[in-house]
Symmetry: C2
Subunit: 201 residues, 2 copies
């Protein structure tokens, strides 16, 4: 069974969706650890309630590379196949990128390359797009720039607020993140330039 670690900063609804997809047989994987960088992260409680290993590694006042080295050290004994960033609000430092090259996925609530960074739904509303969505991508040293594994498109309605749009996108996040994890864990893809192409089974 492939082993994943999930990095979170907050509520962790994507973590919960992954756990549920595993429990209900839609995703074959084992959550070996949930790592939070924030003592307030509700995901830590959820992880414990689910009987999962919950690791608090506070990042406050720690620079990105030092923090990344701490995460690498904490995960080293756990034989992690894939790292999943599920609302992890810290830049990923180089030691993590080196230790898990092409084995870190992030989920971002827009159709990248539109609207990278923060306040994503507000960016989309302010720009006036009629579709937004979400993106699962490999993490590289850029900001939301790595090769894209999966996307879903979501309509924007005239009366949307950042909150209503976020909720509509989240439904799709919960679906495509697990699909992307399954694909990457299966190894049945190749990366051609920036294109992630499924291999025929």
């Amino acid at each position: 069974m492939k082993r994943i670690a999930i990095l979170v900063s907050g509520r962790g609804s994507n973590f919960e969706a992954i756990a549920r997809n595993i429990r209900e047989g839609r995703l074959e994987a084992e959550i070996a650890a949930v790592v939070a960088n924030n003592p307030e992260a509700k995901a830590l409680d959820t992880a414990r309630a689910l009987g999962l290993r919950a690791i608090l590694l506070p990042s406050k006042g720690v620079d990105s590379d030092t923090y990344a080295a701490q995460v690498v050290a904490a995960l080293a004994p756990l034989s992690i196949d894939l790292l999943c960033l599920a609302g992890f609000m810290r830049r990923v430092g180089q030691p993590l990128l080196d230790a898990y090259a092409h084995r870190i996925l992030n989920i971002h609530p827009s159709l990248l390359p539109s609207f990278p960074g923060l306040h994503v739904q507000q960016q989309a509303l302010d720009y006036g797009v009629k579709f937004s969505g979400c993106t699962v991508h490999f993490v590289d040293s850029g900001l939301d720039t790595g090769p894209i594994v999966a996307q879903a498109a979501v309509p924007i309605l005239d009366d949307d607020t950042a909150d209503t749009l976020a909720a509509r996108i989240l439904v799709e996040e919960h679906r495509i993140f697990s699909e992307a994890i399954a694909l990457v864990l299966s190894g049945r893809y190749r990366i051609d330039g920036r294109r992630v192409i499924r291999l025929d089974v």
Copy 2:
């Protein structure tokens, strides 16, 4: 009946779709002129075959503002309500923007703000997005930057080429351009910042 002019540079498949939608009662408007900047534009023949006013105004060697002034002069007697750029491959000069403020629409084969400019489908394929689409937007002095009236999302398949993707997007272009024209001609919208919001009827 509201009167539109269509500016084209080539085949003009979006022009043909608009003409068909009018003919078949899906769009209430009259095509008062088809203007081509290129003597080779097949759309000129199509316009003549449909009994429409076809105007050739070659743009070769003419700077954008001078050209725009020529278009303004050619259209002035025709009482045009809305200008529709349908594969018009020239920058729109200031005299046109001044004469038709908020009355020029363009169609672009991507989900803007992703992939403005040229070679759009190849840009999308090279970036590795899983969805692209098309955008109808008001034309301002930027490159594909004006407020968005309509968009449609289209999946990208692993075996897509720029041509197969362009064909799939074109189907949606033919639909949303007429829908956007109808909305703008109806006047039943407001622009809030960059957001084009439909008014309740």
